[in-house]
Symmetry: none
Subunit: 422 residues, 2 copies
């Protein structure tokens, strides 16, 4: 069983509104085990809507349409569906009564335009709208079942949940889809892809794919089957991926990198501090995003200038003079000094050149040193040099994520050099 | 001239990712006066992609395709375009050289998968990617010009702007749409809407609308016409809006709040420091987002705990004991002390409860005090109490934006109480 989604509205095709309805419906279909190989977005033009319905109905069992059911001139879905069916529009008595009740309840006069909303193609039926005026429409074109919903997200979602989802569940034969995401920071998508190539072959179930969002790569495992079996299918595949990628995986599903780090710190009863140059507070900002982080993060510094590294952290100015602020030595000293001053177990320090231009000392854009000073004091400091691609924003984000990744690995007692690819 | 947009990826059809690329491209086309009656979203299936290309090419002059150009098994756009053209894939020498240079620059080994990205259909050409590895593709199918871009939004946008937009501009001829955004921080969308209601009537040209994105309200003025006239049309309407909203407007178009603040500081030869509690480094992070900010921002503190406010900034512990850390008095002291310690002209301090729960002293979630200490020293400190709605993330963002807004107004010599609505 497969479905196509048609979204209707000039505000969508002209990009004024991002089409989140289609994404929501796509997710609902996927979870019901109904494949959705195609989505269409069509402007407010009757001929184009009719063409899209004909084109889609020839390709699918289920056609979900949203938008264009309102009371104004540019709401053309109702008449377009009638055209596609080759039928006239007739007034639906029950829908008309619903509309009258609705307007009585909110104490407004119903306009002539509103009456149009009670019209439906002759062979179709109206579906009541639990939170708005426009009823939905259910119709059949050949072998294709058509469900039409309003475009207002709240109304669309309520109508789908109440009226259409139960029908689709029954029709779907109990098959469901489940997804697990394994999240990775510190290795690129192509590096990960090359390690999972055999798992990522098309047309398998469970299937494996990768996505990247804001520097985090997610390996996604999709399983389709009976509710009782999908969990096992996913877990088994996840075991294989875990075996290949090991400690590179920092979380599953929605859990963020900063949540994992804060959680580990809290579990171990440890604290952390930050001394940031090129990330300018981003690492501290990420840590403090996590509710409860105040128990493990008490203070941090943004030491952007050379002077502040000396004055606030106590980094030896001679060290900066000798090696430059962007250096392995200064990163290490920043972390060690910050750790001491904050009386924290761990310290993160970041110093680098986020661009846009090479700096005074000819350090290339994207060169960043990240240091992690550990609870054993003295020599317990690890520094990684990184060369990040992209613009200033992206270098700063990746630096911050890498800093948290390095701390995460150290908290697990691991050597980042052994875990992270170069 | 008309265009169709095809977005490719299972993450889109299954609703994992909301298709913001299609909206962005739709807006670009609208700005170029090119109509876009249809958008398609297709999953990672070669036959479906080929069918979508054939179907679209028969209907349009311009076909924009994004996604599926990556180096992994599920990136099928390259081979699908070749299939649609009925041509084999061949290696593009220039693209291959670009890839080699890219990997050399970031000091990584190129995998075999990456090499696939330099393949193109025989008659097509490769378009270089200014911020990633996957080159774009330009091809012709019958009368239809096909432009293929990566799915990563940043890469897609850069490639469209640099390589495809100039071609479309030349082809478009005549009418263009221009937009000006006037950006506001510190007043809500409905408050602004009520002041511009008469300008926001539908069906006018130029037209006026409002959008909200991440706490920033933008008043958008759209004008459609010949290139020579749209500028005047927009400027005249903008004058009216400026007259109504005055100093609430911090910038036009893409200029960010932090850029305006840094620019003003640099122009005045002034410096700023930050002392942040609930925002946890976010204000510093925003300031240091701006290239060149190192000339006006030297250091900042994240003083998350009471102890750190005393130890690092020198806030009197008695003050914290008497009024609590979330108070007008402590905010003022944090700013004054930070300013003194950093030897800066200005200081921003933020202390509040970002949630998720009311704190020990029963301060409600969303209560935030923001202080601005000024160059006159001593009593030159302004504190604003704010009650922000939303979740932790949103309270922290709005606090950071309000802090920058207050500094912006102070730098203009204005009283925030007189400018910002309550």
């Amino acid at each position: 069983m497969n479905a196509i989604i048609i979204s209707i509205g000039d505000e969508l095709t002209s990009g004024l509104t991002i089409n989140s309805n289609a994404a929501w419906l796509g997710r609902q279909l996927a979870d019901l085990g109904i494949s959705c190989p195609l989505q269409l977005t069509v402007g407010d033009q009757r001929a184009a809507i009719v063409a899209a319905i004909h084109h889609s109905a020839a390709l699918c069992d289920i056609l979900l349409i949203s938008g264009g059911l309102g009371p104004t001139e540019d709401d053309l879905t109702r008449s377009s569906v009638a055209d596609a069916l080759g039928e006239p529009l007739v007034q639906d008595q029950a829908a008309m009564a619903d509309l009258e009740t609705f307007f009585k309840r909110i104490n407004r006069t119903m306009t002539e335009n509103n009456r149009l909303q009670a019209m439906r193609p002759l062979s179709a039926s109206c579906i009541s709208n639990s939170c708005g005026t426009a009823p939905g429409i259910m119709a059949r074109l050949g072998k294709t079942q058509i469900f039409v919903m309003p475009g207002v997200p709240r109304e669309m979602k309520a109508m789908f949940e109440l009226s259409f989802k139960p029908l689709l569940q029954a029709a779907g034969g109990g098959v469901v889809r489940r997804i697990m995401a394994l999240n990775i920071c510190g290795a690129g998508e192509s590096w990960i892809g090359s390690r999972l190539a055999d798992l990522m072959k098309r047309g398998t179930n469970p299937s494996v794919g990768t996505t990247v969002h804001d520097g985090i790569v997610s390996v996604r495992i999709y399983a389709m089957g009976q509710p009782a079996e999908v969990h096992t299918m996913i877990t088994e595949k996840a075991e294989i991926v875990r075996h290949r990628l090991g400690e590179l995986i920092f979380s599953t599903d929605q859990v963020t990198l900063e949540e994992v780090v804060v959680q580990n710190l809290l579990q171990q009863g440890r604290t952390v501090t930050t001394a940031e140059s090129c990330t300018g507070g981003w690492v501290a900002m990420m840590l403090t995003n996590v509710p409860g982080s105040s128990a493990c993060f008490k203070r941090g510094w943004v030491t952007y200038s050379d002077e502040s590294k000396a004055a606030e952290l106590g980094v030896d100015p001679e060290l900066i003079k000798t090696y430059g602020a962007v250096s392995r030595e200064v990163a290490a000293a920043m972390a060690q000094q910050a750790r001491r001053r904050a009386e924290a177990h761990w310290a993160i320090a970041v110093t680098g050149n986020a661009g846009p231009a090479n700096d005074d000392l000819k350090n290339p854009v994207g060169l960043v040193y990240i240091a992690i000073a550990g609870p054993n004091g003295g020599d317990d400091v690890y520094v990684r040099s990184c060369q990040f691609p992209g613009d200033r924003q992206s270098i700063r984000l990746r630096s911050s994520q890498m800093a948290l990744t390095l701390l995460r690995l150290k908290l697990l007692g691991l050597d980042p050099e052994a875990v992270l690819p170069r």
